[in-house]
C-alpha cells in the first residue's frame, strides 16, 4: 500500500507492506541514521519524532503515518551538532549506537519542558538506553545543552 508523509519536511511516498514498521521502511530507503537495537519497544535506539513527539519507530506501523511529519536526525542537523558537542565535552559518546535516538529525545525534551528538574530529565530520557555508560555523562551533557539559549 502507498503511504504519503513528510520526511524532514519533504513530501515522500513509499510503498509499504501492511505489517511493515517505520524503522525498516526508512532504513530500506537509505535513512540509516535510524538504528534498530532491541526491536522490542524498549531500548529507544530507533527513536524519531512524529509530529514533533519522540516515538520508537520499531513499533510504529508505516501504514499508520499517512500525512504525518517524521523528523530524523538529518532534519535537525544544527541542533544535533550542538548536542553532539556537549556529549563530546562530557565524554558521553562511546559506541555511539544510542546517540541518535537520544539526541532526538533530548531535542524534543528541550521544546516540551521548560526548566526541567533532574527528575523530569531522567523521566524523559529513561526510554533511551545506553549500554556503554550509566547515562551520567549524558545527563551532564543534556543539562549543559538545556542551559544554552
Amino acid at each position: 500500500m502507498l503511504v504519503k508523509f513528510y520526511l524532514n519536511d519533504v513530501e515522500v511516498s513509499f510503498d509499504v507492506a501492511p505489517n511493515e514498521y517505520l524503522a525498516k521502511t526508512l532504513r530500506s530507503h537509505g535513512i540509516k541514521s535510524v538504528k534498530v537495537g532491541c526491536n522490542e519497544s524498549s531500548c529507544g535506539s530507533c527513536t524519531l519524532l512524529i509530529d514533533g513527539k519522540p516515538m520508537m519507530s520499531c513499533s510504529i506501523l508505516s501504514a499508520s503515518i499517512e500525512g504525518k511529519h517524521i523528523t530524523t536526525i538529518e532534519g535537525i542537523q544544527e541542533e544535533a551538532a550542538k548536542i553532539a558537542h556537549y556529549f563530546g565535552e562530557e565524554g558521553a559518546d562511546q559506541c555511539g549506537f544510542c546517540n541518535v535516538g537520544l539526541a532526538l529525545t533530548v531535542y524534543a525534551l528541550k521544546r516540551e519542558l521548560k526548566n526541567p528538574s533532574e527528575e523530569e530529565i531522567n523521566n524523559y530520557i529513561v526510554g533511551n538506553l545506553c549500554r556503554c555508560s550509566g547515562l551520567q555523562s549524558q545527563l551532564k551533557a543534556i543539562k549543559a545543552y538545556l542551559k544554552e539559549e
Partner: protein, 261 residues
C-alpha cells in the same frame, strides 16, 4: 506479525462493520502489544483517524477518548487536577516517553493486561467504559467479562469527586514490568483499594473496602490483611508469592495513611 490488510475506516460504524466481517480482523490502537504477541491478523483496523484522542470534561465527569495516548493523559491539566494527580501518576512510570507517546489509554484497558499500571490506577475510581455500538459498563465489570467483547471502546468516563488518590508501582528497574501495583482512593469519604500485577489483572479488594467504609476509625493493618484474604498473590520469575504478599501489606497500609491525611 502477519497482516493481510491495513484498513482506515471512515467512521465508527465503518470500523465496527469491518470488525464483524472476520474473527481474525483486529482493532489497532497504539499497536505495541500486537507486535509483541506476533499475531496473525487478517485486517488491522486503524482507529487513529476517528477523533477519539480528546480529553474533555462536564460538570460531573471527565471523558477520555480511547485513543488518547498515555503521554497526553499524564500531561492533561484536566487529569492532573483530579485526586491530587494520582491518575496521571499511574501512567507516568510506564516505560519511557517515546513509548507513552504511542501507547493509548484504550489499548491498555482493552488488553486487560495483568501488568497494567493504567487498569490498576483507574480501578479505585468510578470509571465506566463507553462502547460502540451503544453499550456502557463499569471498568470492573469489563475486567470480569468473560470472552472477547465484540465492540469498540470509544470513551472512558471518570466521575469527578472530592478526595485523594495513591498509586504505587513496585519494579526492579525503570523499564521493567511491575512486581506489584497498589492503587487506593478516598473519594467523597469512601475508600477503594485495587491491587494489580500479583501477577494477575488488577482487582478491587471488596472485603477490605467494606470494612474501611463501615468503621469510623478503621485499622489500616487489618484492612491490609483483608486485602490479602481476598486477593491472592502468585510466584513468577519477577517475584515470589510471599514477597508480593509482604509488599501488599506495606503499600496498602501506606496508601490508606496517605489518602486519609
Amino acid at each position: 506479525m502477519k497482516v493481510n490488510e491495513y484498513y482506515r475506516p471512515s467512521s465508527l460504524e465503518d470500523a465496527y462493520h469491518k470488525l464483524q466481517e472476520d474473527p481474525k480482523n483486529s482493532l489497532l490502537a497504539g499497536g505495541l502489544w500486537i507486535k509483541k504477541m506476533g499475531l496473525s491478523v487478517n485486517c488491522l483496523i486503524d482507529l487513529s483517524t476517528l477523533g477519539l484522542n480528546k480529553i474533555s470534561e462536564t460538570k460531573d465527569e471527565i471523558i477520555v477518548g480511547s485513543m488518547v495516548t498515555q503521554r497526553d493523559f499524564e500531561n492533561s491539566p484536566i487529569i492532573k487536577s483530579l485526586f491530587n494527580d494520582s491518575l496521571a501518576f499511574a501512567v507516568r512510570e510506564v516505560m519511557g516517553v517515546n513509548f507513552r507517546n504511542i501507547a493509548t489509554i484504550g489499548g491498555s484497558i482493552m488488553g486487560r493486561y495483568t501488568f497494567s499500571d493504567v487498569i490498576c490506577g483507574l480501578l479505585p475510581y468510578d470509571v465506566s467504559l463507553e462502547f460502540y455500538p451503544s453499550q456502557k459498563m463499569s471498568l470492573e465489570d469489563y475486567l470480569n467479562y468473560k470472552g472477547r467483547l465484540n465492540a469498540i471502546l470509544v470513551n472512558i468516563h471518570i466521575k469527578k469527586g472530592n478526595g485523594k488518590g495513591y498509586f504505587k508501582k513496585v519494579k526492579t528497574t525503570a523499564l521493567d514490568f511491575p512486581i506489584l501495583n497498589v492503587a487506593i482512593s478516598k473519594v467523597n469519604g469512601k475508600y477503594a483499594v485495587a491491587v494489580g500485577s500479583r501477577p494477575m489483572v488488577a482487582s478491587l479488594a471488596h472485603k477490605a473496602m467494606d470494612y474501611l467504609n463501615k468503621e469510623s476509625k478503621p485499622d489500616f493493618n487489618k484492612a491490609a490483611e483483608l486485602v490479602l484474604e481476598e486477593l491472592s498473590c502468585l510466584d513468577n520469575m519477577n517475584a515470589s508469592k510471599e514477597y508480593r504478599q509482604d509488599l501488599t501489606k506495606v503499600y496498602v497500609r501506606r496508601g490508606l495513611e496517605e489518602v486519609s491525611k
